[in-house]
Amino acid sequence: MATAQLLSLTGVSKEFPGVKALDNVQFDLNEGEVHAIVGENGAGKSTLMKILSGIYKKDAGDVKYRGQSVEIPNPYEAQRLGISIIHQELNLMPHLTVAQNIFIGREDRRPGRVFLNNPKLNDEATKLLAELELNLDPKAIVGELTIAKQQMVEIAKAVSYRGSVIIMDEPTSSLTPAETESLFKIIRTLKAAGKGVVYISHRLEELAKITDRITVIRDGQYVKTLKTTETSIPEVISLMVGRKVDQDQRPSNRNIGSEIVMKVEGISDRHLLRNVSFELRKGEILGFAGLMGAGRTELARAIIGADPRTEGKIYLHGKEVKIKQPSDAVAAGIGYLSEDRKRFGLLLIQNLTFNVILSSIPRFSKFGWLRIKPAAGVTRDVISQLRVRTPSENQFVKNLSGGNQQKVVIGKWLTRNCDILIFDEPTRGIDVGAKDEIYKLLTKLAEEGKSIIMISSELPEILRMSDRVAVMCAGRLTGILDNKDANQEKIIEYATKFSDELSVVH
């Protein structure tokens, strides 16, 4: 089969303030081919796809489409060239029909260009769906379809632009195995029609089934392109992880007692979490690793009662506690530090004192009246103890840097005297220097006897900080490793155990 080259990228680079997101990356795609891009969280996969689909502009490098150098300044140009992207989060209008969604913005109008020509729209959609062998009613309301069918609508929409490149970003992340199979059938139809598919997935075992080639990127850099038939999952994982593990820092040997502070038993929720159980010891940092969407944040929110659980019990010091809402968790001494500090952690338009005492206001009041002076005093203590860089406790929190904002949130929970702290991505959005300070602070807190759950998507951070590493995949806990047994390869292996037959390992 003579295949023409559809896409060829060479030397593509993209820099964001302070981060080199892509550095000299290459990639190519042929007609009738499915080419996967894999890499860890933050490796640069989405940045690359956003450059291809015109959402970001590349800083350097060359993109050739059918042999011609092209610029893709915006999404319209990408579509005009014939590059369509199906995002992980579907971009459909739930109240419109299948046909209306497919042709949104390109509706046929009746003569006079005022009224829509719905019958023609439906006819065209019917033809398109038949061509793709999709069993969908063009008049069905999209919001009433299953996620899998909605995704088919996205695919039909992508194909309707009559482009030749279709990018799929984590298309199977919310599909059942049967639905995944039917997606693969559609992909094969597209292949047969000579389209090129760029396939992004965390599910490595899928790659063998559907892809022709696999390109690995790591830390924004091109690593290698492999023929699917000539490689194996372990090889792909080792290329994804790359770094020499012995370079990474590990926690110094701390003496962690056997005292179990918190026991979580069989937590499930309506959407994702399935029967998650673990124990947290006094003075321990328990890292939670996993891919995006593995359910780590969901687990934290379920534990503190921010989202409903369908099942599961929580024991503190051996006694069951009922946690139905966040105030119950706080009363029990569990503090949650969200990954999204600005949305879930801080009162940005208020000052440091206000933020630091927010969880402990009853302690700073008498008969309903606030006592500002002790509150300001405690805040000054927090500022000096955590080395918050601020002119005074009256500073608005929005004027602080990310690292200092994080310290304010930590100060809030220390003021509340929480014994258990759940840190969700404690160093996200914090620059490198401040990261070290946060690490030292976490270690110090653990040494003082606080028990810490640390959710992180950065494996070096997990390995550096955690006494034990819990790994989650698709809402289940797939393994708990002692730090000395843990390495990046093992964590990735557990983090990609999507099949159900694997049991929980302790």
Binding site: F344, G345, L348, N351, G368, P391, F396, N399
Partner: protein, 338 residues
């Protein structure tokens, strides 16, 4: 940025005059406009500045809207809104009137009753918003219509006359504990001071700002947000009840159809006073100044002989100017949080 670094936060610290002005610039600007408008009308017609006009004309006509506006300030600082205060006031007036007449209650019990009934109506709003999770706009739109209807039903469409039957009821607003100073105005000022203390010195006030700044973060900090929201809407209702008592005292009757439209005047006063509709920021002092600006304008324009329809247009323009000026000032200060 150095300016920002010295800016003091809500309600504490900042003893320096410059820091005070920077922190309170919204209120300072509102107060300055009030003074300028006042001087303008005085120059145009000295009668305007006479005590008779100031107390009887301007201050007295601010009492009802002012009390409602204090209540609404609490709600708006949570990031919510209360459209029901006007018609709730009519409903409280009618219920209180009926009870006072039926059980021959004395004035003090009557006042207390009005505030309790108002508080209960406010709590209903709070429950609709927290338990049924209705948006405040929708919940209070519904109770606004409900209260309007119930006031008419309970009163059988007829005003309830107090004046001759309840001894001293007229004195609540129109008497003079302080010579030459109407009690109604005294009630407004005392209620404003109490409101300001609640907002700035109590736990409730602190949670009020916290909820308006970031409801989710407040909830995750362990605050029982729903309970406090109900309390805040109930507090708003207490002020509505007090407004109902004052308006019945001034009119000598409970008018079941008087109240619709007052909610928007109250909200306008709050906004002119510099409270952010997005929540988290606001002062009672600003609200009182906002209410006074509106009364001064209406009163002054009337003295100048401007027709009522043009008075409305001017008030509309003032609302636009006040908010636009606030936006400009904020944008210059680099404040992007709206």
């Amino acid at each position: 940025m150095s300016d920002d670094l010295t800016t003091a936060g809500q309600g504490e610290g900042g003893s320096k005059v410059s820091a005070f002005i920077r922190r309170e610039i919204g209120r300072v600007a509102a107060l300055a406009s009030l003074v300028v408008i006042f001087i303008f009308f005085t120059i145009m017609n000295p009668v305007f500045a006479s005590w008779a006009n100031v107390s009887g004309g301007i201050l007295m006509s601010t009492t009802v809207i002012g009390l409602l506006a204090i209540g609404v300030t609490f709600v708006i600082i949570t990031g919510g809104i209360d459209l029901s205060v006007g018609t709730s006031m009519a409903l409280v007036a009618v219920i209180t009137g009926k009870m006072v007449m039926a059980y021959e209650l004395n004035v003090w019990v009557g006042i207390l009753l009005g505030m309790v009934v108002g508080g209960l109506l406010g709590a209903v709003n709070g429950i609709l918003i927290t338990v049924l999770r209705l948006p405040p706009f929708i919940a209070t739109l519904a109770t606004m219509k409900g209260a309007q209807g119930l006031a008419l039903i309970i009163s059988d469409l007829k005003p309830i006359l107090f004046a001759t039957d309840v001894k001293g009821w007229d004195q609540i607003a129109q008497g003079n504990i302080i010579p030459n100073f109407p009690n109604g105005v005294l009630i407004l000022f005392v209620a404003a001071i109490i409101g300001s203390l609640i907002l700035n010195k109590t736990v409730l006030g602190r949670y009020n700002f916290a909820i308006g700044s970031n409801l989710e973060a407040t909830k995750l900090s362990g605050v029982k947000v729903n309970r406090w929201l109900v309390a805040i809407y109930a507090l708003c209702g207490v002020y509505v009840g007090l407004a109902a008592v004052v308006i019945t005292s001034r009119l000598g009757s409970a008018q079941p159809d008087l109240g619709l439209g007052y909610e928007l005047e109250a909200i306008a006063a709050v906004i002119i006073g510099g409270t952010s509709l997005f929540g988290g920021k606001g002062t009672i002092g600003g609200t009182i100044i906002g209410a006074l600006i509106m009364s001064v304008l209406i009163n002054g324009l009337r003295i100048l002989g401007l027709q009522q329809e043009w008075q409305y247009v001017v008030v509309g323009a003032v609302i636009l100017l006040a908010v636009f000026g606030d936006n400009l000032r904020r944008r210059r200060a680099g404040d992007t949080t709206v």
